[in-house]
């Protein structure tokens, strides 16, 4: 067995921060190799060095036994390294064909390219239409475009940055079939993920990074999921379990709520109905773009709902705006952090104050007392391990995962009677996700109701007692999890009926 890529003692610093500190890793050809680590562990830095977007301060790489030091992604691609990015590097207003051409060096426009795309798409069972505009495609289809773009370079090494975080279970299964076929055909794969179950399923080796340093290289099947997670975060994980489920009376209900979207690419909501009790955690699963955004806007109160469709504690709240809803102790964490959840150009302190329905404890006679605000911010920053130099930092300067922790924490410390949260751990690493989940459970144990809208099925399965699926604007009844629950959910997620 020979090595396709050998990385030795790579170091890369940004000022005082060592993003990669003496990291080594070797990828065998035709193997699927996992790169594991929390946010900020240095995975992206390492991958960018391999892909030629960054040059390391020291250390060296070998590609098929020859010295390899790429100056740009072009050189990496010339050598046969391709990459599927986490936030896809696709152009929404262009067609699939144009997008693929853009990623291929030396391919011009006049060649009849569609046929070649279709050939590759058939060969690997990746269904795409070259003439479609990417903006109209689902997330899964966009990923297929990225993968085909990479495959058409005939790579010897394919780097995939968290490829499954946005896919349905069926799409994940399809992806794995493709990846296994690729590896069998002689292409090595560097698979970056924090989903440990997947890593144990398809990867033959794993390299774990923490704080820029190499922790260990191991064979993932020889360790349990929990062991791997603990290697990643460097401490013990707390077991998630609801000890104290006491379901009380109904606190929130949605009745026959419909909405016609005003965006032609939007989704119309049809007769949404849902009941939530005190002390319960309710999950809405589903693939993004099936009406989640539209529903969230109605629940938050960005858009008023018709009379008698939303009821909170016996009060019709459809016409209340989000500030008025917060005053009744309904709190929200919207999915889009910058813009909906936080004002990007304002500090964490300012963002803390802005969402408060009652700011008397931070003001004196309506004049803001910044010291008091900072105390509240600090509570959130400490409790939820938000990595930031101070609460004076602008919201947009925090990484996505960190800002997410701050926003979830900001709502949680207000002890909401009802918390509605979309994608609570989107982009958040395993250790912090565990913290957030624990805090949600504690809140529910105290008798609050929590509604979670998430694409992450594992998250919903581990937290929620009552699970619905949103598909094409329609909400299923609560899925009976006792028999074949997961199968039913998968079916519902792709638009099927149960």
């Amino acid at each position: 067995m020979k090595y396709q890529l050998e990385v030795s003692n790579i170091t890369k610093s940004y000022g005082d921060l060592k993003a990669n500190d003496n990291v080594s890793l070797s990828i065998k050809d035709s193997s699927i190799h996992a790169l594991l680590g929390e946010n900020g562990a240095g995975k992206s830095t390492l991958v960018k060095i391999i892909y030629g977007s960054l040059t390391p301060d020291s250390g060296e790489m070998k590609w098929a036994n020859n010295k390899y030091s790429p100056k740009s992604p072009f050189q990496a691609r010339e050598n046969g390294i391709a990459m599927v990015f986490q936030h896809f590097s696709l152009f929404e207003s262009l067609t699939v064909e144009d997008n693929i051409i853009l990623g291929l060096d030396g391919v011009g426009l006049n060649e009849n390219f569609s046929e070649q795309i279709i050939k590759y798409s058939k060969q690997y069972g990746l269904d795409i239409n070259p003439q479609q505009v990417v903006g109209d495609l689902s997330v899964g289809a966009r990923q297929r475009v990225e993968i085909i773009r990479c495959l058409m370079q005939n790579p010897k090494l394919l780097i995939m940055d968290e490829p499954t975080s946005v896919l349905t279970p069926q799409e994940v299964a399809d992806l794995f079939v493709t990846l296994k076929k690729l590896a069998a055909d002689g292409c090595a794969i560097l698979y970056i993920s924090h989903k440990l179950e997947e890593v144990r399923e398809i990867c033959s080796e794993a390299t774990i990074l923490r704080g820029g340093k190499l922790v260990q290289s191991c064979i993932p099947q020889e360790h349990s999921q929990k062991e791997l997670a603990e290697m990643m975060i460097g401490k013990k994980l707390t077991e998630l379990a609801r000890t104290n489920i006491t379901i009380g009376e109904t606190i929130f209900s949605i009745d026959n709520l419909s909405r016609k979207s005003d965006d032609i690419y939007g989704v119309n909501l049809k007769n949404i109905a849902l009941k939530m009790s005190k002390g319960s955690i309710v999950g809405i699963a589903g693939v993004a773009g099936n009406g989640q955004d539209e529903l969230m806007e109605l629940l938050i109160g960005e858009i008023p709902s018709p009379k008698a469709t939303l009821n909170f504690n016996g009060q019709d709240i459809g016409l209340l705006n989000s500030h008025e809803r917060r005053q009744l102790s309904m709190f929200f964490v919207p999915e889009e952090r910058l813009g909906h959840g936080a004002v990007p150009d304002m500090s964490l302190d300012e963002n803390m104050l802005l969402s408060r329905p009652d700011s008397t404890e931070m003001t004196s006679r309506d004049v803001i007392d910044w010291e008091k605000v900072a105390v509240h911010s600090k509570t959130v920053i400490d409790t939820f391990d938000v990595q930031t130099p101070s609460s004076k930092m602008l919201a947009k300067s925090l990484s996505g995962g960190n800002l997410q922790k701050f926003m979830v924490g900001r709502e949680l410390i207000q002890n909401p009677e009802l918390l509605i949260v979309a994608q609570p751990t989107w982009g958040v690493d395993a250790g912090s996700a565990n913290n957030i989940h624990q805090a949600l459970i504690e809140l529910a144990d105290k008798g609050s109701a929590i509604l979670i809208i998430s694409q992450d099925l594992d998250e919903i399965l581990s937290l929620c007692e009552q699970i619905h699926v949103l598909s094409e604007g329609q909400l299923s009844d609560a899925v009976d999890m006792k028999s074949k629950g997961l199968e039913k959910i998968s079916q519902l997620m792709v638009g099927g009926k149960v």
Binding site: F88, S89, L90, E92, S93, D98, I101, L109, G135, I264
Partner: protein
């Protein structure tokens, strides 16, 4: 209406449209790359001045047009440096560029306000221009008029028929993604901005070399702003620039010929027309696009690109 008046109107419209066409097609390419340069008026007036000055010293129309292009590009290069390397706000920088260009041209052109030059005249194409009706309509124009139409075609061809054009559109759509796959965002944008400057320069020079043989302070008279409106009117599609420029140019010419045609409207109302038309068109365009995800606007328009790697 008699025949020669009709032909005169057509020629008049073409002359009024061409400066808009040049400036707008340049700005269209700039905006396709994701940059909003509001300095068109400033680049035009500097082009108008430089073209005039070189013409008055050398009497060489080729040199004059080249000088106008260089002038527009020089002003555009200030914009490119500030917005692409120092990452300044594009709207503020563009406005400053217009004010700077107007002031600079007024100052540098003080000595030329009394001078007149030899206009660049129409060159009827031999034989073809002798065809009855069609000849005077299609083949008897100033060479710069043909160049304007050709530039529109060229920009279309570049954007939609070349790989570089595709890359430029991709950069306008998502500069982070373009950077991630290894394309040089800043280089493409600087080139686009310089091209926009050159086109605005010729557009300005057309005023002082073809329309009138004199130099006057502020002689661009808001045409740069109309060109900016035209790009939106054309919804970033090159060939629609031609239609829009002729429409806007036509309104201007209508003012001049209105009296000859016995249309009894006071001149002030007519001179308001191009600007009113801009507003009406912008509003109606918005109404038409309402409830639609607008695919035509480059997504990154006006956004600052800063690579962290």
């Amino acid at each position: 209406m008699n025949e020669s008046l009709f032909i005169n109107i057509i020629i008049g419209i073409s002359i009024a449209s061409v400066p808009l066409m040049f400036a707008a097609i340049g700005e269209l390419l700039v905006e396709r790359s994701g940059v909003l340069n509001l300095g068109v008026e400033g680049m035009m007036i500097v082009g108008a001045l430089l073209g005039f000055v070189v013409m008055s010293h050398t009497q060489n129309p080729y040199l004059a047009v080249l000088a106008a292009m260089a002038g527009g590009m020089a002003i555009a290069s200030i914009f490119a440096f500030l917005t692409q390397f120092l990452l300044t706000n594009q709207v503020a920088t563009g406005l400053a560029l217009t004010l700077f260009g107007l002031g600079f041209a007024a100052f540098a052109g003080r000595g030329y306000t009394e001078e007149t030059i030899q206009l660049i005249t129409a060159v009827p194409i031999p034989y073809l221009s002798d065809i009855p009706y069609l000849g005077p309509l299609l083949f008897s124009f100033n060479p710069l008029v043909y160049l304007a139409f050709f530039m529109v075609y060229l920009v279309w061809w570049f954007l939609f028929r070349t790989k570089q054009g595709l890359i430029l559109r991709a950069i306008g759509d998502n500069h982070d993604a373009a950077h991630a796959i290894g394309h040089n965002v800043v280089r493409y944008r600087v080139m686009a901005i310089l091209f926009g400057g050159a086109m605005a320069g010729i557009g300005g020079a057309f005023l002082s070399l073809v329309q009138v043989p004199i130099w006057g302070e502020g002689m661009t008279a808001g045409r740069g702003w109309i060109a900016l409106g035209l790009v939106v009117f054309a919804s970033w599609q090159p060939f629609r620039i031609i239609f829009g420029a002729i429409l806007f140019g036509g309104i201007t010419i209508l003012q001049i010929h209105a009296q000859g045609l016995n249309i009894n409207v006071s001149a002030q109302y007519l001179s308001m027309l191009p600007y009113l038309a801009t507003i009406v068109i912008l509003v109606s365009l918005r109404m038409r696009l309402k409830n639609k995800t607008n695919r035509t606007v480059p997504n990154c328009l006006g956004r600052i690109f800063h690579s962290t790697t």
